[in-house]
Every structure is written in structure tokens, then in C-alpha cells.
Amino acid sequence: EAAVTQSPRNKVTVTGGNVTLSCRQTNSHNYMYWYRQDTGHGLRLIHYSYGAGNLQIGDVPDGYKATRTTQEDFFLLLELASPSQTSLYFCASSDPGYSAETLYFGSGTRLTVL
């Protein structure tokens, strides 16, 4: 089974702060995703990537940047964090060559912006 590891598990920052959330997957999946999860909205896609150096815009990208440095590593950057970005963030990966539609999720990072 795919392994997706997120860090940190919890993060608290202040408004205007700079935050980086990290994600690593160890199964050589091509696709990686960042979602945020909020009560009443379910999971919403922020950014995703097809491979190293590639970045695609998701459904709620405003205020977020992302970078895919290697096939394994995908980062989500909040350069000027705002309280509206307080949320539970999930990273996921998938491999179109095996089971295109199945996403494998990490355990999440809970971010609080004060």
C-alpha cells in the first residue's frame, strides 16, 4: 500500500506568517495533491502535480503556492498566512499507470493561523 507522510502533524502560526507543509510519498506515484478539509465543505483541491517540476491549479488555489521538487516530495507554501487558512490539510498521491483514480492520503496537518 502507498505510503504518504506529512509533516508537521500540527502547526500554529500568526497572521502574516510563513508556513511550509511537507509531503513525501514512497511508492513512485506520478500524481500528488494538496487538499484542505473544512466542516461543511468536505475536501477541496488546492494544487496538484503530475511530476517533478510540474504544478497544476486546483479549485481553491488563492493564497497558496506549491512546489514539486522530486517525484517523492510535494510542498505547500503559505507565504502570508491568514486565519481563513486555518484548516486540516491532506496530501495524496496516485498512479495512473496502476489505478488511475485511487488516491492514497497522508494523515494530515492541522494548521491554525492566529
Binding site: T39, G42, Y48, S107
Partner: protein, 111 residues
């Protein structure tokens, strides 16, 4: 049922009972997936049903898909306390290998 601006639906049942949750989607999809999210964990896929299938079974799980009404259901028979979780449906209605998730159904199975 889940989707759109609806509030998260919550169900409370006794262990051993069966439960069915519903999902409706807005545009054509090639697959409907059902995911389960337990407390403190990320979602994990339970079952995937394709647009050319009407029913799919996996152990105690049964998923149905009605493309004419753009709806799907997930049933769990003989629930266990360990089935307590939030259940999401997801479709690939968007382009680019993106999944769109419903807002979920919270199921509490009382021992």
C-alpha cells in the same frame, strides 16, 4: 445524501444494523469512489464503481450507481463499532485526473 452546500449528514445506529448512505453528483463521471475517514486519519478508499457498472460488492460493502439520476449509494451490512467514520463519495467530474469530493456522511455505530 451528500453534495454541494448540504450540511454534513450524521447517522447513529446500533452495531449489527445495516446502513445506507447516498451521494448525488452534478456532471458526468467515469467512476464513483467511496472513501472512509476515521478520526485523526486521512481518507482511505473503500470501493470504486465505474459508470458501466450498476453494483459493486466488497465484503460487507455494496455500492450502487445510477447514471441516469447521477446518484450512488454505499451500504454496509452488519455494522461494527469500527465502522464509525465519515464516508465520502468522490467523482472525477473535473478534468485532469482530479477528484471532487462530497461533504461526507458521519456514521456513528454504537456498540
Amino acid at each position: 445524501s451528500q453534495w454541494g452546500e448540504e450540511n454534513l449528514q450524521a447517522l447513529s445506529i446500533q452495531e449489527g444494523e445495516d446502513v445506507t448512505m447516498n451521494c448525488s453528483y452534478k456532471t458526468y463521471t467515469t467512476v464513483v469512489q467511496w472513501y472512509r475517514q476515521k478520526s485523526g486519519k486521512g481518507p482511505a478508499q473503500l470501493i470504486l464503481i465505474r459508470s458501466n457498472e450498476r453494483e459493486k460488492r466488497s465484503g460487507r460493502l455494496r455500492a450502487t450507481l445510477d447514471t441516469s439520476s447521477q446518484s450512488s449509494s454505499l451500504s454496509i451490512t452488519g455494522t461494527l463499532a469500527t465502522d464509525t467514520a465519515v464516508y465520502f463519495c468522490a467523482t472525477d467530474a473535473s478534468a485532469g485526473n482530479k477528484l471532487t469530493f462530497g461533504i461526507g456522511t458521519r456514521v456513528l455505530v454504537r456498540p
